[in-house]
Protein backbone atom coordinates (compact mmCIF):
# COMPACT_ATOMS: atom_id res chain seq x y z
CA UNK A 1 0.00 0.00 0.00
CA UNK A 2 3.05 2.29 0.00
CA UNK A 3 2.86 5.48 -2.03
CA UNK A 4 -0.88 5.33 -2.44
CA UNK A 5 -3.70 7.80 -1.91
CA UNK A 6 -5.37 5.10 0.17
CA UNK A 7 -3.08 5.84 3.09
CA UNK A 8 -2.03 9.38 2.15
CA UNK A 9 1.25 8.19 0.59
CA UNK A 10 2.32 6.99 4.03
CA UNK A 11 3.53 10.47 5.10
CA UNK A 12 3.87 9.37 8.72
CA UNK A 13 6.15 6.45 7.88
CA UNK A 14 8.21 8.58 5.47
CA UNK A 15 8.86 11.32 8.05
CA UNK A 16 9.70 8.83 10.79
CA UNK A 17 12.10 6.83 8.61
CA UNK A 18 13.76 10.08 7.42
CA UNK A 19 14.35 11.14 11.02
CA UNK A 20 15.38 7.71 12.29
CA UNK A 21 19.10 8.40 11.68
CA UNK A 22 19.04 11.77 13.45
CA UNK A 23 16.90 11.29 16.55
CA UNK A 24 17.11 8.67 19.33
CA UNK A 25 14.42 6.00 19.50
CA UNK A 26 12.36 7.62 22.27
CA UNK A 27 12.16 10.92 20.40
CA UNK A 28 10.94 9.08 17.30
CA UNK A 29 8.00 7.73 19.30
CA UNK A 30 7.08 11.28 20.31
CA UNK A 31 7.40 12.50 16.70
CA UNK A 32 5.19 9.66 15.45
CA UNK A 33 2.63 10.49 18.15
CA UNK A 34 2.67 14.19 17.26
CA UNK A 35 2.09 13.40 13.58
CA UNK A 36 -0.86 11.25 14.59
CA UNK A 37 -2.34 14.01 16.74
CA UNK A 38 -1.93 16.57 13.95
CA UNK A 39 -3.56 14.18 11.47
CA UNK A 40 -6.48 13.74 13.87
CA UNK A 41 -6.89 17.49 14.27
CA UNK A 42 -6.87 17.89 10.51
CA UNK A 43 -9.92 15.63 10.52
CA UNK A 44 -11.56 16.88 13.73
CA UNK A 45 -11.40 20.68 13.47
CA UNK A 46 -13.14 20.97 10.07
CA UNK A 47 -15.51 18.20 11.18
CA UNK A 48 -16.53 20.24 14.24
CA UNK A 49 -17.52 23.16 12.03
CA UNK A 50 -19.20 20.89 9.49
CA UNK A 51 -21.19 18.90 12.05
CA UNK A 52 -22.39 22.02 13.85
CA UNK A 53 -23.63 23.39 10.53
CA UNK A 54 -25.20 20.05 9.52
CA UNK A 55 -26.95 19.70 12.85
CA UNK A 56 -28.41 23.23 12.83
CA UNK A 57 -29.43 22.97 9.20
CA UNK A 58 -31.02 19.52 9.58
CA UNK A 59 -32.83 20.43 12.80
CA UNK A 60 -34.12 23.52 11.05
CA UNK A 61 -35.49 21.43 8.22
CA UNK A 62 -37.04 18.94 10.61
CA UNK A 63 -38.80 21.84 12.34
CA UNK A 64 -40.01 23.27 8.98
CA UNK A 65 -37.74 26.32 8.99
CA UNK A 66 -34.66 27.20 6.98
CA UNK A 67 -31.96 26.94 9.62
CA UNK A 68 -28.94 29.23 9.37
CA UNK A 69 -28.93 30.94 5.96
CA UNK A 70 -27.55 34.47 6.49
CA UNK A 71 -23.79 34.11 6.93
CA UNK A 72 -22.19 32.91 3.72
CA UNK A 73 -23.72 30.62 1.10
CA UNK A 74 -26.43 28.42 2.71
CA UNK A 75 -25.23 29.76 6.06
CA UNK A 76 -22.01 27.80 5.67
CA UNK A 77 -20.00 30.34 7.64
CA UNK A 78 -22.43 30.25 10.58
CA UNK A 79 -20.21 27.96 12.75
CA UNK A 80 -17.27 30.35 12.26
CA UNK A 81 -19.44 33.31 13.21
CA UNK A 82 -20.65 31.38 16.26
CA UNK A 83 -17.07 30.62 17.26
CA UNK A 84 -16.04 34.27 17.01
CA UNK A 85 -19.12 35.33 18.96
CA UNK A 86 -18.59 32.79 21.72
CA UNK A 87 -14.91 33.70 22.20
CA UNK A 88 -15.87 37.36 22.48
CA UNK A 89 -18.30 36.73 25.33
CA UNK A 90 -17.53 37.57 28.92
CA UNK A 91 -16.02 34.68 30.83
CA UNK A 92 -17.92 34.68 34.10
CA UNK A 93 -16.61 32.95 37.21
CA UNK A 94 -19.48 32.96 39.71
CA UNK A 95 -18.94 33.60 43.40
CA UNK A 96 -18.26 30.57 45.57
CA UNK A 97 -17.05 28.25 42.84
CA UNK A 98 -14.15 25.90 43.35
CA UNK A 99 -11.87 27.85 40.97
CA UNK A 100 -9.33 25.16 40.10
CA UNK A 101 -11.88 22.45 39.38
CA UNK A 102 -14.20 24.94 37.65
CA UNK A 103 -11.45 25.93 35.20
CA UNK A 104 -10.07 22.44 34.72
CA UNK A 105 -13.38 20.69 33.96
CA UNK A 106 -13.81 22.05 30.38
CA UNK A 107 -10.23 21.06 29.56
CA UNK A 108 -10.46 17.60 31.14
CA UNK A 109 -13.62 16.94 29.09
CA UNK A 110 -11.41 16.71 26.04
CA UNK A 111 -9.09 14.02 27.38
CA UNK A 112 -11.46 11.02 27.03
CA UNK A 113 -13.05 12.55 23.93
CA UNK A 114 -9.70 12.65 22.10
CA UNK A 115 -8.20 9.45 23.57
CA UNK A 116 -10.98 7.44 21.93
CA UNK A 117 -9.66 8.36 18.46
CA UNK A 118 -6.42 6.46 19.06
CA UNK A 119 -8.02 3.14 18.06
CA UNK A 120 -10.42 4.33 15.37
CA UNK A 121 -9.43 2.81 12.00
CA UNK A 122 -9.76 5.31 9.18
CA UNK A 123 -8.37 2.80 6.72
CA UNK A 124 -6.41 -0.47 6.48
CA UNK A 125 -3.21 1.25 7.66
CA UNK A 126 -4.70 4.49 8.94
CA UNK A 127 -5.00 3.69 12.61
CA UNK A 128 -2.96 5.41 15.30
CA UNK A 129 -2.61 2.33 17.53
CA UNK A 130 -4.26 -0.96 16.59
CA UNK A 131 -4.18 -2.17 20.18
CA UNK A 132 -4.65 -5.82 21.06
CA UNK A 133 -7.33 -4.73 23.51
CA UNK A 134 -8.92 -2.22 21.08
CA UNK A 135 -12.57 -2.34 22.05
CA UNK A 136 -11.77 -2.81 25.75
CA UNK A 137 -9.67 0.35 25.55
CA UNK A 138 -12.68 2.19 24.11
CA UNK A 139 -14.91 0.99 26.93
CA UNK A 140 -12.43 1.90 29.65
CA UNK A 141 -11.85 5.36 28.19
CA UNK A 142 -15.57 6.02 27.86
CA UNK A 143 -16.01 5.16 31.54
CA UNK A 144 -13.87 8.21 32.33
CA UNK A 145 -16.33 10.56 30.63
CA UNK A 146 -18.34 10.99 33.80
CA UNK A 147 -15.49 12.59 35.76
CA UNK A 148 -15.29 15.97 33.96
CA UNK A 149 -19.08 16.21 34.02
CA UNK A 150 -19.05 15.69 37.76
CA UNK A 151 -16.15 18.14 38.18
CA UNK A 152 -18.14 20.82 36.35
CA UNK A 153 -21.35 20.13 38.23
CA UNK A 154 -19.76 19.98 41.66
CA UNK A 155 -17.45 22.98 41.35
CA UNK A 156 -20.16 25.31 40.01
CA UNK A 157 -21.72 25.82 43.46
CA UNK A 158 -25.15 25.59 41.87
CA UNK A 159 -27.96 23.20 42.83
CA UNK A 160 -29.04 22.58 39.24
CA UNK A 161 -25.50 21.89 38.12
CA UNK A 162 -25.06 19.37 40.92
CA UNK A 163 -28.39 17.72 40.07
CA UNK A 164 -27.25 17.40 36.47
CA UNK A 165 -23.97 15.85 37.58
CA UNK A 166 -25.75 13.36 39.84
CA UNK A 167 -28.07 12.35 37.03
CA UNK A 168 -25.09 11.98 34.75
CA UNK A 169 -23.35 9.59 37.15
CA UNK A 170 -26.49 7.46 37.58
CA UNK A 171 -27.13 7.40 33.83
CA UNK A 172 -23.57 6.53 32.85
CA UNK A 173 -23.36 3.72 35.40
CA UNK A 174 -26.63 2.23 34.14
CA UNK A 175 -25.94 2.44 30.43
CA UNK A 176 -22.34 1.22 30.66
CA UNK A 177 -23.66 -2.30 31.35
CA UNK A 178 -25.86 -2.87 28.26
CA UNK A 179 -23.18 -1.12 26.17
CA UNK A 180 -20.47 -3.55 27.25
CA UNK A 181 -22.75 -6.59 27.04
CA UNK A 182 -23.80 -5.73 23.48
CA UNK A 183 -20.14 -5.42 22.48
CA UNK A 184 -19.36 -8.81 24.07
CA UNK A 185 -21.63 -10.68 21.65
CA UNK A 186 -19.87 -8.95 18.74
CA UNK A 187 -16.46 -9.87 20.15
CA UNK A 188 -17.59 -13.50 20.53
CA UNK A 189 -18.22 -13.66 16.79
CA UNK A 190 -15.04 -11.90 15.64
CA UNK A 191 -12.84 -13.66 18.19
CA UNK A 192 -10.70 -10.54 18.55
CA UNK A 193 -10.79 -7.27 20.45
CA UNK A 194 -8.65 -5.58 17.80
CA UNK A 195 -10.71 -3.08 15.84
CA UNK A 196 -8.69 -3.71 12.69
CA UNK A 197 -9.43 -7.42 12.90
CA UNK A 198 -13.09 -6.75 13.60
CA UNK A 199 -13.27 -4.88 10.30
CA UNK A 200 -11.43 -7.59 8.36
CA UNK A 201 -13.78 -10.19 9.89
CA UNK A 202 -16.63 -8.25 8.31
CA UNK A 203 -14.78 -8.27 4.99
CA UNK A 204 -14.66 -12.08 5.08
CA UNK A 205 -18.20 -12.59 6.38
CA UNK A 206 -21.27 -10.41 6.44
CA UNK A 207 -21.26 -6.92 7.93
CA UNK A 208 -21.91 -7.06 11.62
CA UNK A 209 -25.29 -5.29 11.58
CA UNK A 210 -26.67 -8.30 9.69
CA UNK A 211 -25.07 -10.78 12.08
CA UNK A 212 -25.86 -8.93 15.31
CA UNK A 213 -28.92 -6.69 14.79
CA UNK A 214 -29.93 -6.85 18.44
CA UNK A 215 -26.44 -5.88 19.60
CA UNK A 216 -26.56 -2.95 17.18
CA UNK A 217 -29.87 -1.75 18.63
CA UNK A 218 -28.66 -2.04 22.21
CA UNK A 219 -25.32 -0.43 21.42
CA UNK A 220 -26.98 2.43 19.57
CA UNK A 221 -29.41 3.21 22.40
CA UNK A 222 -26.79 2.93 25.16
CA UNK A 223 -24.23 4.95 23.22
CA UNK A 224 -26.66 7.76 22.58
CA UNK A 225 -27.48 7.71 26.31
CA UNK A 226 -23.78 8.07 27.11
CA UNK A 227 -23.60 10.99 24.68
CA UNK A 228 -26.34 12.88 26.58
CA UNK A 229 -28.14 13.76 23.38
CA UNK A 230 -31.75 14.73 23.25
CA UNK A 231 -33.97 11.73 23.79
CA UNK A 232 -31.69 10.88 26.71
CA UNK A 233 -30.28 14.23 27.81
CA UNK A 234 -31.70 14.28 31.32
CA UNK A 235 -28.23 15.47 32.36
CA UNK A 236 -28.88 18.85 30.80
CA UNK A 237 -32.65 18.81 30.39
CA UNK A 238 -33.48 22.48 29.85
CA UNK A 239 -37.06 22.18 31.01
CA UNK A 240 -36.06 20.66 34.35
CA UNK A 241 -32.60 21.73 35.47
CA UNK A 242 -31.71 24.77 33.27
CA UNK A 243 -28.64 23.33 31.54
CA UNK A 244 -27.41 20.73 33.98
CA UNK A 245 -23.75 20.56 34.73
CA UNK A 246 -22.75 23.51 32.51
CA UNK A 247 -25.35 25.94 33.84
CA UNK A 248 -22.68 28.29 35.22
CA UNK A 249 -20.35 28.13 32.24
CA UNK A 250 -20.17 30.89 29.66
CA UNK A 251 -18.03 32.07 26.78
CA UNK A 252 -15.05 30.00 25.82
CA UNK A 253 -15.40 27.52 28.68
CA UNK A 254 -18.93 26.68 27.59
CA UNK A 255 -17.80 26.27 24.01
CA UNK A 256 -15.32 23.62 25.17
CA UNK A 257 -18.21 21.48 26.46
CA UNK A 258 -20.12 22.16 23.27
CA UNK A 259 -17.23 21.10 21.03
CA UNK A 260 -16.43 18.06 23.20
CA UNK A 261 -20.02 16.88 22.70
CA UNK A 262 -19.60 16.93 18.92
CA UNK A 263 -16.23 15.19 19.23
CA UNK A 264 -17.95 12.44 21.21
CA UNK A 265 -20.82 12.10 18.74
CA UNK A 266 -18.33 11.74 15.88
CA UNK A 267 -16.38 9.15 17.88
CA UNK A 268 -19.49 7.08 18.57
CA UNK A 269 -20.50 7.31 14.91
CA UNK A 270 -17.02 6.11 13.99
CA UNK A 271 -17.22 3.17 16.41
CA UNK A 272 -20.67 2.28 15.09
CA UNK A 273 -19.45 2.26 11.50
CA UNK A 274 -16.24 0.38 12.34
CA UNK A 275 -17.82 -2.32 14.49
CA UNK A 276 -21.21 -2.81 12.85
CA UNK A 277 -21.05 -1.33 9.35
CA UNK A 278 -17.80 -2.61 7.93
CA UNK A 279 -15.51 0.30 8.79
CA UNK A 280 -13.49 1.31 5.79
CA UNK A 281 -15.00 -1.44 3.58
CA UNK A 282 -16.87 -0.10 0.58
CA UNK A 283 -20.33 -1.03 -0.55
CA UNK A 284 -20.12 -3.79 -3.18
CA UNK A 285 -20.24 -1.63 -6.32
CA UNK A 286 -18.33 1.56 -5.60
CA UNK A 287 -14.79 0.33 -5.04
CA UNK A 288 -13.09 3.32 -6.66
CA UNK A 289 -13.20 5.70 -3.73
CA UNK A 290 -10.39 5.38 -1.17
CA UNK A 291 -11.15 3.51 2.03
CA UNK A 292 -10.83 6.51 4.36
CA UNK A 293 -13.42 8.41 2.33
CA UNK A 294 -15.88 5.54 2.77
CA UNK A 295 -15.23 5.54 6.49
CA UNK A 296 -15.71 9.30 6.85
CA UNK A 297 -18.88 9.10 4.75
CA UNK A 298 -20.22 6.45 7.14
CA UNK A 299 -19.31 8.59 10.15
CA UNK A 300 -21.26 11.52 8.71
CA UNK A 301 -24.20 9.28 7.86
CA UNK A 302 -24.47 8.13 11.47
CA UNK A 303 -24.06 11.70 12.69
CA UNK A 304 -27.12 12.56 10.58
CA UNK A 305 -28.98 9.61 12.12
CA UNK A 306 -28.21 11.02 15.59
CA UNK A 307 -29.56 14.42 14.49
CA UNK A 308 -32.66 12.73 13.06
CA UNK A 309 -33.33 10.98 16.37
CA UNK A 310 -32.74 14.19 18.29
CA UNK A 311 -35.28 16.01 16.15
CA UNK A 312 -37.86 13.21 16.32
CA UNK A 313 -38.07 11.88 19.86
CA UNK A 314 -39.08 13.81 22.99
CA UNK A 315 -36.92 13.71 26.10
CA UNK A 316 -37.43 10.77 28.47
CA UNK A 317 -38.01 11.19 32.18
CA UNK A 318 -35.10 10.29 34.46
CA UNK A 319 -36.80 7.19 35.91
CA UNK A 320 -37.98 6.06 32.47
CA UNK A 321 -34.41 6.20 31.28
CA UNK A 322 -33.21 4.00 34.15
CA UNK A 323 -36.08 1.56 33.54
CA UNK A 324 -35.17 1.27 29.87
CA UNK A 325 -31.57 0.37 30.71
CA UNK A 326 -32.24 -2.13 33.49
CA UNK A 327 -35.54 -3.74 32.53
CA UNK A 328 -35.31 -3.70 28.75
CA UNK A 329 -31.78 -3.47 27.37
CA UNK A 330 -30.01 -5.55 30.01
CA UNK A 331 -32.15 -8.75 29.70
CA UNK A 332 -32.12 -8.57 25.92
CA UNK A 333 -28.33 -8.19 25.87
CA UNK A 334 -27.95 -11.24 28.13
CA UNK A 335 -30.21 -13.38 25.90
CA UNK A 336 -28.26 -12.20 22.88
CA UNK A 337 -24.97 -13.28 24.46
CA UNK A 338 -26.40 -16.72 25.22
CA UNK A 339 -27.72 -17.24 21.69
CA UNK A 340 -24.51 -15.94 20.11
CA UNK A 341 -22.49 -18.29 22.30
CA UNK A 342 -24.52 -21.30 21.10
CA UNK A 343 -24.20 -20.18 17.47
CA UNK A 344 -20.44 -19.71 17.71
CA UNK A 345 -20.06 -23.05 19.51
CA UNK A 346 -22.03 -24.87 16.80
CA UNK A 347 -20.00 -23.05 14.13
CA UNK A 348 -23.01 -22.19 11.98
CA UNK A 349 -22.81 -20.59 8.55
CA UNK A 350 -22.84 -16.74 8.68
CA UNK A 351 -25.98 -16.53 6.56
CA UNK A 352 -27.84 -18.88 8.90
CA UNK A 353 -26.62 -16.91 11.94
CA UNK A 354 -27.78 -13.70 10.30
CA UNK A 355 -31.20 -15.19 9.60
CA UNK A 356 -31.61 -16.53 13.16
CA UNK A 357 -30.39 -13.30 14.76
CA UNK A 358 -32.61 -11.00 12.73
CA UNK A 359 -35.63 -13.16 13.62
CA UNK A 360 -34.46 -13.22 17.24
CA UNK A 361 -34.04 -9.45 17.38
CA UNK A 362 -37.52 -8.77 16.00
CA UNK A 363 -39.08 -11.48 18.16
CA UNK A 364 -37.34 -10.42 21.37
CA UNK A 365 -37.97 -6.70 21.02
CA UNK A 366 -41.62 -7.22 20.13
CA UNK A 367 -42.16 -10.02 22.65
CA UNK A 368 -40.40 -8.38 25.57
CA UNK A 369 -42.16 -5.05 25.13
CA UNK A 370 -45.47 -6.93 24.83
CA UNK A 371 -44.68 -8.91 27.97
CA UNK A 372 -43.64 -6.09 30.26
CA UNK A 373 -45.88 -3.50 28.60
CA UNK A 374 -44.93 0.00 29.68
CA UNK A 375 -43.71 -1.29 33.03
CA UNK A 376 -40.13 -0.62 32.01
CA UNK A 377 -40.76 3.09 31.86
CA UNK A 378 -43.58 3.53 34.37
CA UNK A 379 -42.82 4.96 37.76
CA UNK A 380 -44.40 2.64 40.31
CA UNK A 381 -44.16 5.15 43.13
CA UNK A 382 -46.22 7.84 41.49
CA UNK A 383 -49.56 6.13 42.04
CA UNK A 384 -52.57 8.08 43.09
CA UNK A 385 -53.12 7.67 46.81
CA UNK A 386 -56.80 8.33 47.60
CA UNK A 387 -57.47 10.70 50.46
CA UNK A 388 -59.36 8.96 53.24
CA UNK A 389 -62.68 10.79 53.69
CA UNK A 390 -63.13 12.43 57.03
CA UNK A 391 -65.91 10.80 59.08
CA UNK A 392 -68.46 13.39 59.99
Amino acid sequence: MNGDIHNFFNIDGAIVSALSGILPAWALVIVAGLIGIIALLVFLVPSQLATIWIERKLIGRFQIRYGPNRVGLFGLLQPLADAVKIVGKESITPAGVDKWVFWLAPIVTFIPALLVYAVIPFGPNLILADLDIGILYLISISSLGVIPVFMAGWSSNNKYALLGAMRSVAQMVSYEIPLVLSIISVVMMTGSLKIGEMVSFQADNLWMFLLQPLALLIFFISASAELNRTPMDIVEGESEIIAGYHTEYSGFKFSMFYVAEYTNVLAVSAILSAVFFGGWLSAPILDLLPAWLWFIAKIYFFFCVFVWIRATLPRMRADQLMGLAWKFLLPLALVNILVTGIEVYMNLHPLLISFINIALAIGLVAGWSELIGNRAVRNERRQYIPVVPVVR
Partner: protein
Protein backbone atom coordinates in the same frame (compact mmCIF):
# COMPACT_ATOMS: atom_id res chain seq x y z
CA UNK B 1 15.43 -0.55 30.27
CA UNK B 2 16.07 1.75 27.32
CA UNK B 3 16.02 5.56 27.58
CA UNK B 4 12.44 5.99 26.40
CA UNK B 5 11.02 3.48 28.88
CA UNK B 6 13.11 5.03 31.66
CA UNK B 7 11.82 8.53 30.92
CA UNK B 8 8.24 7.28 30.76
CA UNK B 9 8.67 5.33 34.00
CA UNK B 10 10.06 8.26 36.00
CA UNK B 11 7.40 10.67 34.74
CA UNK B 12 4.61 8.18 35.52
CA UNK B 13 6.08 7.18 38.88
CA UNK B 14 6.44 10.84 39.90
CA UNK B 15 2.86 11.58 38.81
CA UNK B 16 1.50 8.57 40.69
CA UNK B 17 3.43 9.29 43.90
CA UNK B 18 2.72 13.03 44.01
CA UNK B 19 -0.98 12.57 43.37
CA UNK B 20 -1.11 9.76 45.96
CA UNK B 21 0.41 12.16 48.53
CA UNK B 22 -2.15 14.80 47.52
CA UNK B 23 -4.97 12.26 48.03
CA UNK B 24 -4.12 11.77 51.69
CA UNK B 25 -3.02 15.34 52.50
CA UNK B 26 -5.79 17.45 50.97
CA UNK B 27 -8.64 18.67 53.18
CA UNK B 28 -11.28 18.76 50.48
CA UNK B 29 -12.54 15.22 49.86
CA UNK B 30 -13.60 15.98 46.29
CA UNK B 31 -10.10 17.15 45.40
CA UNK B 32 -8.75 13.95 46.97
CA UNK B 33 -10.97 11.88 44.68
CA UNK B 34 -9.74 13.79 41.63
CA UNK B 35 -6.10 13.20 42.56
CA UNK B 36 -6.95 9.55 43.12
CA UNK B 37 -8.07 9.38 39.48
CA UNK B 38 -4.74 10.88 38.43
CA UNK B 39 -2.86 8.38 40.58
CA UNK B 40 -4.78 5.44 39.07
CA UNK B 41 -4.08 6.80 35.59
CA UNK B 42 -0.36 6.92 36.40
CA UNK B 43 -0.44 3.28 37.55
CA UNK B 44 -2.22 2.33 34.33
CA UNK B 45 0.54 4.09 32.40
CA UNK B 46 3.18 2.05 34.25
CA UNK B 47 1.31 -1.12 33.27
CA UNK B 48 1.45 0.00 29.64
CA UNK B 49 5.23 0.43 29.82
CA UNK B 50 5.37 -3.16 31.13
CA UNK B 51 3.46 -4.43 28.04
CA UNK B 52 0.49 -5.32 30.23
CA UNK B 53 -2.13 -3.52 28.14
CA UNK B 54 -5.00 -5.63 29.38
CA UNK B 55 -4.26 -4.89 33.04
CA UNK B 56 -3.89 -1.19 32.18
CA UNK B 57 -7.32 -1.07 30.52
CA UNK B 58 -8.88 -2.92 33.43
CA UNK B 59 -7.12 -0.56 35.86
CA UNK B 60 -8.72 2.45 34.15
CA UNK B 61 -12.11 0.75 33.76
CA UNK B 62 -12.45 -0.53 37.32
CA UNK B 63 -10.45 1.90 39.43
CA UNK B 64 -10.57 5.22 37.60
CA UNK B 65 -14.04 4.48 36.26
CA UNK B 66 -16.09 2.35 38.65
CA UNK B 67 -14.42 2.87 42.05
CA UNK B 68 -14.26 6.64 41.65
CA UNK B 69 -17.90 6.75 40.55
CA UNK B 70 -18.73 4.74 43.66
CA UNK B 71 -16.89 7.33 45.77
CA UNK B 72 -18.76 10.16 44.05
CA UNK B 73 -22.02 8.38 44.89
CA UNK B 74 -20.96 8.03 48.52
CA UNK B 75 -20.06 11.72 48.63
CA UNK B 76 -23.40 12.76 47.18
CA UNK B 77 -25.31 10.62 49.67
CA UNK B 78 -23.44 11.98 52.72
CA UNK B 79 -24.27 15.65 53.09
CA UNK B 80 -21.42 16.37 55.49
CA UNK B 81 -18.80 15.36 52.97
CA UNK B 82 -20.07 17.96 50.53
CA UNK B 83 -20.17 20.88 52.97
CA UNK B 84 -17.41 20.22 55.49
CA UNK B 85 -14.94 18.28 53.40
CA UNK B 86 -12.62 15.97 55.27
CA UNK B 87 -12.51 17.05 58.94
CA UNK B 88 -9.45 16.29 61.05
CA UNK B 89 -9.87 13.09 63.05
CA UNK B 90 -8.83 12.50 66.67
CA UNK B 91 -7.10 9.20 65.81
CA UNK B 92 -3.97 10.87 64.49
CA UNK B 93 -1.36 9.20 66.81
CA UNK B 94 -2.63 5.62 66.26
CA UNK B 95 -2.88 6.26 62.52
CA UNK B 96 0.68 7.55 62.43
CA UNK B 97 1.88 4.51 64.40
CA UNK B 98 0.10 2.09 62.07
CA UNK B 99 1.42 3.84 58.97
CA UNK B 100 4.94 3.81 60.41
CA UNK B 101 4.78 0.08 61.24
CA UNK B 102 3.42 -0.66 57.76
CA UNK B 103 6.24 1.36 56.22
CA UNK B 104 8.83 -0.57 58.30
CA UNK B 105 7.33 -3.90 57.15
CA UNK B 106 7.27 -2.94 53.48
CA UNK B 107 10.77 -1.47 53.60
CA UNK B 108 12.09 -4.60 55.36
CA UNK B 109 10.48 -6.90 52.78
CA UNK B 110 11.78 -4.69 49.99
CA UNK B 111 15.36 -4.81 51.30
CA UNK B 112 15.40 -8.52 52.17
CA UNK B 113 13.79 -9.89 48.99
CA UNK B 114 16.33 -11.01 46.37
CA UNK B 115 15.11 -9.12 43.30
CA UNK B 116 16.09 -11.63 40.64
CA UNK B 117 13.64 -11.99 37.79
CA UNK B 118 12.89 -15.66 37.33
CA UNK B 119 13.80 -15.88 33.69
CA UNK B 120 12.60 -19.44 33.20
CA UNK B 121 9.08 -19.07 34.53
CA UNK B 122 8.50 -15.39 33.65
CA UNK B 123 5.35 -15.05 31.57
CA UNK B 124 5.99 -14.24 27.94
CA UNK B 125 2.46 -14.25 26.62
CA UNK B 126 0.90 -10.87 27.40
CA UNK B 127 -1.77 -11.16 24.75
CA UNK B 128 -5.43 -11.14 25.58
CA UNK B 129 -5.76 -14.72 24.31
CA UNK B 130 -3.16 -15.95 26.80
CA UNK B 131 -4.94 -14.21 29.67
CA UNK B 132 -8.29 -15.59 28.54
CA UNK B 133 -6.82 -19.10 28.35
CA UNK B 134 -5.50 -18.81 31.90
CA UNK B 135 -8.74 -17.36 33.26
CA UNK B 136 -11.22 -19.69 31.59
CA UNK B 137 -9.21 -22.92 31.33
CA UNK B 138 -6.49 -23.22 33.95
CA UNK B 139 -7.95 -21.13 36.75
CA UNK B 140 -11.63 -21.42 35.86
CA UNK B 141 -12.71 -22.57 39.33
CA UNK B 142 -11.25 -19.62 41.30
CA UNK B 143 -12.63 -17.30 38.62
CA UNK B 144 -16.14 -18.75 38.91
CA UNK B 145 -16.00 -18.78 42.71
CA UNK B 146 -15.00 -15.12 42.85
CA UNK B 147 -17.83 -14.17 40.50
CA UNK B 148 -20.34 -16.07 42.65
CA UNK B 149 -18.92 -14.28 45.69
CA UNK B 150 -19.42 -10.90 44.00
CA UNK B 151 -22.99 -11.89 43.05
CA UNK B 152 -23.74 -12.86 46.64
CA UNK B 153 -22.31 -9.54 47.87
CA UNK B 154 -24.44 -7.66 45.36
CA UNK B 155 -27.63 -9.48 46.34
CA UNK B 156 -26.77 -8.86 49.99
CA UNK B 157 -26.36 -5.14 49.33
CA UNK B 158 -29.73 -5.02 47.55
CA UNK B 159 -31.42 -6.87 50.43
CA UNK B 160 -29.87 -4.44 52.94
CA UNK B 161 -30.94 -1.45 50.87
CA UNK B 162 -34.55 -2.66 50.59
CA UNK B 163 -35.01 -3.17 54.33
Amino acid sequence: MDTGTAIAFYILAGLTTISAIMVVSLRNIFHSVLFLVLSFAGIAGIYVTLNAEFVAAIQVLIYAGAIVVLMLFAMMLTTNAMTEGNPAGHLRPPAMLTAFLFFITVAYVGVVTPWQPRAASAPTDFSINGIADLLFNVYVLPFEISSVLLLVAMIGAIVLARD
